[in-house]
């Protein structure tokens, strides 16, 4: 059965993409959840739509446009937060809708027949080509190395940012690196589950992992594992039932999470490690 799926190169790419996406969701998703940056990540995801539209308008690879805009948007949020008194939530909401509006505008301005944007909004893992897969793997490797090298600093930053400032650690550097990584993760996830569903894949594996561990590094590992199970089973179901892969992955994730949470409720473990 598996062999029959794997004989298609688009399926091989899809499986690789699902595995790489799970790695990123496991690591960055955990950081996002612990630092309560979920809504900011949503804002960046939607802002990237502006970049994708711009890519079409300028005739460059849309995902490159998305990457540039997502990165700039995430850095801008940090700057605006530091320099003005505007609440982060407000800035994020503005960026969220501005990105979508710009994307729609750019696509309308693009000459010729309008491209189908559904695959960016809801993902289409079966269309992941070799180029995109290489970009994904490259970004994932960068993020894994950065988090591993700065792990202790991230841990303190996530737990008690103020104390990091007291130790005179340059928190702005850590924050900037983190925000850039969030932008990278979103771009990686766009093809897999799409802009609208990216948030789910960043949060559900971590939420599942948190049911089983209270150690940051283990939550990252478990979340990666759950992400793989969710995305691979979602992908398989979408293949056999011929339903959209993004929607299938998210609904499978939520179902798994609900079952796991239910099981934990019935069988609580007192001393988690």
């Amino acid at each position: 059965m598996i062999q029959s799926i794997l004989q298609y190169s688009f399926m091989q790419n899809a499986l690789m993409a699902a595995i790489v996406a799970s790695l990123i969701c496991g690591i960055i998703g955990t950081i996002i959840v612990e630092k309560q940056l979920v809504s900011m990540s949503g804002g960046i995801a939607h802002a990237s739509f502006g970049g994708i539209g711009l890519g079409y308008l300028l005739g460059i690879e849309p995902i490159i446009g998305g990457l540039i805009v997502a990165t700039s948007a995430s850095l801008a949020v940090g700057q605006i937060q530091r320099r003005t008194k505007t609440k982060a939530d407000t800035v994020v909401s503005m960026m969220w809708s501005a990105g979508m509006a710009a994307g729609i505008l750019f696509i309308a301005l693009t000459p010729g027949y309008p491209p189908d944007m559904t695959s960016y909004l809801f993902g289409d893992i079966l269309t992941v080509n070799d180029t995109y897969l290489s970009i994904m793997i490259g970004l994932a490797l960068i993020m894994i190395v950065v988090v591993a090298l700065l792990y202790n600093y991230f841990k303190l930053y996530l737990f008690d940012e103020e104390y990091a400032k007291i130790l005179k650690i340059n928190v702005v550097v850590i924050e900037t690196i983190l925000y850039m990584m969030i932008a990278f993760s979103i771009v990686v996830l766009i093809k897999v589950v799409g802009i609208i569903l990216a948030l789910a894949l960043l949060t559900i594996p971590t939420a599942s992992a948190k049911l089983f561990s209270v150690t940051l590094s283990r939550i990252m590992v478990y979340a990666t594992f759950f992400g793989m199970v969710y995305s691979l089973s979602g992908l398989t179901i979408s293949y056999y039932l011929n339903i959209p892969s993004g929607a299938s992955i998210i609904l499978v994730s939520i179902t798994f999470y609900a079952i796991l949470a239910g099981v934990r409720k019935i069988m609580p473990v007192r001393d988690q490690v």
Binding site: E34, K85, A148, L149, L150, N152, Y153, K155, L156, L158, F159, D160, E162, Y163, A164, K165, I166, L167, K168, I169, N170, V173, I174, K210, S213, V214, T215, L216, R218, I219, D271, Q272, V273
Partner: protein
């Protein structure tokens, strides 16, 4: 030689003035209490000393030799955060210059264990912080602050969420620490802390200083709880006799 000199300090939040022209010095190995009403500027004052809050006027000079350690309020933490006691304490030892690939070494851990033993929390190393009591969490935060060998320790209400027995334990522990380091503590527990303190600074936008000789200086206009504590009977007597201060003035105590 003063450890910390606060010179004509004014701190504002937008239009609101939190601290106005505050002056005082902290001497080496003093044990100083900072008291005053909520919203009176106590936390703002220590945040300014720690460099976390911008100063609008005046200045704060911390002697270059001094290393300042900080113990924040327990209630400000997300107890669900996935971190163990050992990891919290070790973070107190992170080098300020960001080092790629930094890992804590065996001697960091043995140092942490020594500090933990000193504070009586050595059995808790692998616990997640959500599994600690208020008093235990407080000691963990003190241990983290001690990792950097501070010469001045600043604590923000360390006994706000602990029971009576733990309170006394923490005071005694601070007293023994005070033999070697300077301690500045925000407290609401004036009555119990007073015997431990060398001096008390009452902060309510302005500063009002007290020592055990009963001398007071500064320019706070309201009645300070320390006055009440030292001269409580006298004031009470005056009140019952219907002379002196009126009731409304004391309603804030």
């Amino acid at each position: 030689m003063s450890v910390i000199t606060v010179d004509d300090l004014t701190v504002r939040y937008e239009q609101h003035t939190a601290l106005s022209h505050v002056n005082f010095t902290v001497e080496e190995k003093e044990f100083i209490g900072i008291i005053g009403p909520n919203g009176g500027g106590k936390t703002t004052l220590i945040k300014a000393i720690l460099g976390l809050k911008k100063i609008d006027e005046g200045r704060i000079v911390v002697d270059a030799k001094e290393v300042v350690g900080y113990v924040p309020q327990v209630s400000t933490f997300d107890k669900g955060f996935p971190i163990s006691v050992m990891d919290v304490i070790l973070t107190g030892h992170l080098p300020k210059k960001i080092k790629f690939g930094h890992r804590f070494k065996g001697h960091d851990e043995s140092h942490a264990l020594r500090v933990m033993t000193q504070l009586g929390i050595d059995g808790l190393a692998s616990r997640q912080i959500g599994q600690l009591s208020g008093g235990q969490m407080q000691r963990v935060l003190i241990a983290r602050a001690l990792m950097n060998h501070p010469t001045v320790l600043v604590l923000d209400e360390p006994t706000a969420s602990v029971d009576q027995g733990t309170k006394v334990d923490i005071y005694e522990m601070l007293k023994s620490l005070n033999k070697v380091i300077t301690i500045i503590i925000i407290t609401h527990d004036t009555t119990q802390m007073w015997p431990y303190l060398d001096r008390c600074i009452y902060i309510n936008k302005t500063a009002h200083l007290h020592n055990h000789e009963g001398e007071a200086e500064g320019d706070a206009l309201d009645v300070c709880p320390i006055d009440w504590f030292i001269e409580g009977e006298k004031i009470q007597k005056a009140l019952t006799e219907g002379t002196g201060r009126n009731d409304t003035k004391h309603s804030s105590i």
